[in-house]
Amino acid sequence: MRSLILTAVAVLVPGVALAQTAAAPAAGGSMVGPYAVLVAGFAMAFAAGLCALGQGKAIASAVDAMARQPGAAARIQTAMIIGLALIESLAIYVLVVAMILLFVQPIK
């Protein structure tokens, strides 16, 4: 575990230092540009992972309920689809923010 942390630090610190020296002459006011891309990638990955966890829980309990009461399967399926789309929309909001950071680039 300690070797993993040391490796991560050894990789990231020169990367950050390089990005700073590269960005400082490029951007006049702020050095946010490269970090915006990094943050967009991490944010999307994080959101996708958490969304998958939430949707997994939703589907698990829906399938459980359908196995318990096969007669109500159609209504449970409808509720499950609605729940999945609502959970997914949270990840979509993160996607929209990531797209704003990448394409609209509000802060250069």
Partner: protein, 261 residues
């Protein structure tokens, strides 16, 4: 964005793309409705049969979610559903674009839903009585409940817009990147250069990517198109049901629920 940008093929210089394709969707819907309503027969055939199936499905959903009181709102719900469905499916055709991939179209649909369900609630219950539901179950909690309710009601059109926009544009960007990766600038181009590595890796990779796109990504996009239209319509019906619901007291609501089951 420059390398993967591919604007639609059909463009008119003075008109914005999403407006033009909204007109294309309108033409398609009017055309299908026209074809379905010529020679209306008691035993439906052809286009009339198809539209009757669609209509029965939507009416079934309305009865399920809002109840029989929701029948007057069938034109609004049906039009929104069909418009969003056809718009989403239009984006799947290479060379055309989905008007719902643009924020403006989605915001228009969402704002229509927002004003519609508030208008329905106010018309059913009266302005004062409708506003009283913003205050929560206990009047003492009103200063806490009102900001929460206002923000959550304002978040509804925003979430409707962004959900539809994110799904459509996200799928579009994904397809654009995959086409770029496997196209003439990518794997297939590498295979066509004639080098050994190009033919082996580029050829196999290109074929695999094409199979992946046709076999998995396109069906997924079709599923997402139907699903997002369904979700939009379902949420509209839930909001209308919520606006109408306050008119019945809790016992009537429980009774009608028991009668449905």
């Amino acid at each position: 964005m420059g390398a993967i940008d591919h604007p639609p093929i059909l463009r008119i210089p003075g008109i914005q793309d999403h407006v033009l394709y909204t007109f294309v969707v309108m033409l398609i819907l009017v055309g299908v409705s026209f074809a379905a309503s010529r020679r209306v027969a008691l035993v439906p055939r052809g286009a009339q049969n198809f539209m009757e199936v669609v209509l029965e499905y939507i009416i079934g959903m309305i009865d399920d979610v809002i109840g029989p009181a929701g029948r007057p709102y069938l034109p609004l719900i049906g039009t929104l559903g069909l418009f969003i469905l056809v718009s989403n499916l239009l984006g799947l055709v290479p060379g055309l674009m989905a008007p719902t991939g643009n924020l403006m179209t989605n915001a228009a649909c969402a704002l229509v839903v927002f004003f519609a369900y508030h208008y329905i609630g106010i018309k059913k219950q009266g302005f004062g009585h409708y506003l009283k539901h913003f205050m929560g179950p206990v009047p003492a909690l009103a200063p806490l409940m009102i900001p929460i309710e206002v923000i959550s009601h304002l978040a509804r059109p925003l979430s409707l817009t962004l959900r539809l926009f994110g799904n459509m544009t996200g799928g579009h960007i994904l397809l654009a990147i995959i086409f770029f990766l496997m196209g003439l600038d990518g794997l297939i181009g590498w295979a066509l250069t004639g080098s050994v590595g190009g033919i082996v890796l580029g050829g196999i990779g290109g074929l695999f990517t094409m199979a992946f796109t046709v076999g998995f990504l396109y069906p997924l996009k079709i599923l997402v198109a139907f699903l997002q239209a369904f979700i939009f319509v379902m949420l509209t019906m839930l909001y209308i049901a919520g606006a109408l619901e306050g008119a019945e007291h809790d016992e009537h609501h429980a009774e009608s629920h028991a009668a449905h089951h």
